[in-house]
Symmetry: C2
Subunit: 146 residues, 2 copies
DNA sequence: GCTGGCGTTGACGTCCGGGGCAAGGTCTAC
DNA sequence: GTAGACCTTGCCCCGGACGTCAACGCCAGC
């Protein structure tokens, strides 16, 4: 099948498939006229990539799964390298969740305090003071390039 | 004070301060020779921005806090607009955490399954089959442009 | 032979928060 | 008078995962 059909059947776009090929992730055979030619196996590889992507895996992280399938294994996660990616992602998710949860609690506390101050400030006398503590603690810090 | 001193005192860089100014977030007076001139109040504004940034707020999300301080309020979160940002961020964090937690559990389950299969596949007979379910559910889906 | 729908490559835009560098102006100290 | 530290603007660069043209080739149907 050609690129358009593969894209449709996998629920993605031709641009994405060309991008994957440019990354060496999903190489394609070529027909005489230069068109990319794919088969059912490629569809399987692509579905593996897309599934992992949907779960938040980066493109590079899907590579071991794809290579595992290409090597003829029954599933993309039948290889040790894939399991390692699972484990790393698990640790990463745990860390991110913990960090976000801490930030969430901090923000919730600030919101509660600020609401109290607003309620007290309008009727009573204005004297409260405080802000989100300049606590240089473990904020999300914006997704680091790690 | 000039830009270099402000940057040092706030623990950031001159590049960042110019960037903030280009975004209209932290405007600066100018001296006769064209140098940017800041005062202690600007340092306060900047600290507010940096604190929120450290907690994962986007630059635009810090704007209400800055404007609140500029309007003369005691704290950046003394204004309703700031409280709204707190609430929105809280809801966003809750959603993200729930999503990541669900993904985490899914990945953990897949890892456990794959490890079992690997252990069973080596000694016994190879017959298992399964992958990370192509569940089109609520994966992180990668930060959508929302 | 002409339109329409595929396909090709290449290059640039997006979002975010800046980093890095160049060429030049300005101020202070020696 | 000159070194060095500071300031100015302007421009291109990063990464991730593509989107969006542009300009062209190929092929089927009518």
């Amino acid at each position: 099948m050609r690129i358009g059909e593969l894209a449709r059947r996998a629920g993605t776009t031709t641009r994405t498939l060309r991008y994957y090929e440019s990354r060496g992730l999903l190489p394609a055979r070529r027909t005489g006229n230069g068109y990319r030619e794919y088969d059912e196996e490629d569809l399987r590889l692509l579905r593996q990539i897309r599934t992992l992507q949907d779960f938040g895996f980066g493109l590079e992280e899907t590579r071991p799964f794809v290579e595992c399938l290409q090597a003829g294994h029954p599933a993309g996660d039948s290889c040790p390298a894939s399991l390692e990616v699972y484990r790393a992602k698990l640790a990463e998710l745990d860390a991110v969740v913990a960090r976000l949860q801490a930030v969430r609690d901090e923000v919730a506390a600030q919101l509660a305090r600020a609401e109290l101050e607003a309620a007290a400030g309008l009727p009573g006398g204005p004297e409260p003071r405080c802000e989100l503590a300049p606590h240089p603690g473990p904020g999300p810090g914006r997704p680091d390039p790690t």
